[in-house]
Symmetry: C2
Subunit: 247 residues, 2 copies
C-alpha cells in the first residue's frame, strides 16, 4: 500500500472566467495522471481567481472602522476595508496582525484576503464565496471529462495558535467525508476509542502543502492511492461557536 | 517528481526498554524500504512506550486540585492527577473536556495523557519527556544502522480550535528544518512574500496521519521523495506566549 503525491505545476496564470476543470484536466494529462481513485487538492487562490474573487483594494473607500483598525494594525486602511467586508468579526488585532473570522466561519489572518500572487500590486485575492460549492462544481466537471471517482479539496495555508508557521487546511471539499469518525471502534487492545476522529480533509490539505510552493507555482496536487468515500461538506467541520472551548 | 507515503505496520507491541530504532529498521527492511532521502514519522505512543512513559493511573493519589477538576470535567480524579502532573497550566475545562498546556508547551486535551492503546485499562501513556531529543536519538541510531540521510518526526493527533476532528502535529523532530522560511522570496509576479513560512514538520505529521490508524496499528510512516535539509528542533516552532495573540 502506498499513497503518492504529484504536483501539477504546468498551469497557466488563472483569470476570471477560466474553465479551471479543463485546465486541471489538461495539466494532469500532460503529467500522465488519470485523476481516478484519489484526491485533487487545489489551492484557494486559483479557484478564487477563476471565480473573479479579486478586488482592486487601492480603489476602496475606507469606513471609520477600517481607518481606526488600520492605525492599530499598521495596515493600509483601504486593504483593511476589504478585510472587514469579508469578516463576521475581528478576533485579534495588533501592530502587523489582523485575525478575523470570515463570513464562512474560518478564523485566519486578514480574513484570507491576500496580495501574494495577485494579478498586480493594487489587487488582492479573496477566499471563494462558497468553497464547498466550488469543490463540488469542480468535481462534477472533472467527472464529466472522465475523471473519478475522486475527491476535491480546496486549501489555503493558515497560521495557527501556539505555533509558528502555516499549515494548509481545507476550505471546501467534495466527493469524500472530511472526517473519519472512529469513535466506538476498538483499539488494538479491544477497548473502544473515545474521541478519535481524524480530520481527513485537513490532513490531505497539509500533505499537499508539502509540494505547494507559492514561489514555484504549484497550485494543485494529486494524491493517488486513497479511495474517496463518503461525502462533504467541509463546513460540517467548523465548530459551533457555542461548543468551541477556545472562543 | 513524486512524494510517496508507506505505512510501517509490522511492528510488535512496544514495551519499556525496547530498541525502537532496530524494530523500525527491521520493519522497513521487511517492506523493502531503504530509509534514505526521506522522513520517518513515528507516532508518539510507541516512542513513549519504549521510553517507559506509562503510568498506572488507577494507583494515583489525587490532590485537592485534581479532585475539584475531576468533578468539573466528569473525569476520574486519579486520571486528572496524572494530567495535572504533566501540565504547566489548565487552558480550559468543562464537562468531558480538559485542555492543558504541557511542560513542553504543547496545548492539547488531557496534556497528551492517553488511554488508547495503553498496555491495559489501568494504564495511560504520557508524552515523551523531550520529543526533540527522542527524535535525534532515533535518527542517530538509524543512521548507525545504515539509514539516512533521513529526518524524524514524532507525531501525535491533536484537536484544534474552531474545527472538529484531530490532525497530527509534530512533537519533536530531527534531521531537517521544521519550518521553511520563505519570507522575502518572490512570488510568481516578483513581489516579496510577506509571511510565508510553511511548518514542514506539521505538514509531514498530518500527511502521515492519513495512514496512521489507531485501530489498525500503523505507528510509523515512511515519506520518501523529500530530501531532508536543515535541522530542528521542533520546540523552535512553539510560540513565545508573549507573542501569541490567541492566548
Amino acid at each position: 500500500m502506498r499513497v503518492s503525491l504529484f504536483p501539477l505545476s504546468n498551469l497557466p496564470e488563472i483569470c476570471d472566467g477560466d474553465d479551471l476543470a479543463t485546465l486541471l484536466w489538461d495539466a494532469a494529462a500532460r503529467d500522465g495522471l488519470a485523476l481516478t481513485d484519489g484526491i485533487l487538492v487545489v489551492c484557494q487562490k486559483i479557484v478564487s481567481k477563476a471565480e473573479g474573487r479579486v478586488v482592486r483594494w487601492t480603489a476602496m473607500e475606507p469606513s471609520a472602522a477600517a481607518n481606526a483598525l488600520a492605525v492599530q494594525t499598521d495596515k493600509d486602511a483601504r486593504f483593511v476595508e476589504v478585510v472587514l467586508r469579508e469578516s463576521r468579526r475581528v478576533v485579534r488585532s495588533a501592530p502587523g496582525v489582523l485575525i478575523c473570522e470570515t463570513h464562512h466561519g474560518f478564523v485566519c489572518a486578514n480574513a484570507g484576503v491576500d496580495q501574494s500572487n495577485a494579478p498586480g500590486p493594487e489587487y488582492a485575492v479573496l477566499l471563494p464565496r462558497d468553497p464547498d460549492s466550488s469543490a463540488e462544481k469542480l468535481r462534477a466537471a472533472l467527472c464529466e471529462r472522465g475523471a473519478g471517482p475522486l475527491g476535491i479539496v480546496i486549501s489555503d495555508s493558515f497560521g495557527r495558535p501556539w505555533r509558528e508557521g502555516q499549515v494548509d487546511v481545507a476550505l471546501g471539499c467534495a466527493g469524500f467525508a472530511p472526517l473519519r469518525d472512529q469513535r466506538g471502534q476498538l483499539d488494538r487492545a479491544g477497548r473502544p476509542l473515545a474521541v478519535t476522529a481524524p480530520a481527513t480533509a485537513d490532513q490531505l490539505a497539509a500533505a499537499a502543502g508539502l509540494l505547494m510552493d507559492k514561489a514555484a507555482g504549484v497550485p494543485a496536487v494529486w494524491i493517488a492511492g486513497l479511495k474517496p468515500s463518503g461525502t462533504g461538506p467541509l463546513r460540517s467541520l467548523l465548530r459551533d461557536p457555542a461548543h468551541d472551548l477556545f472562543r
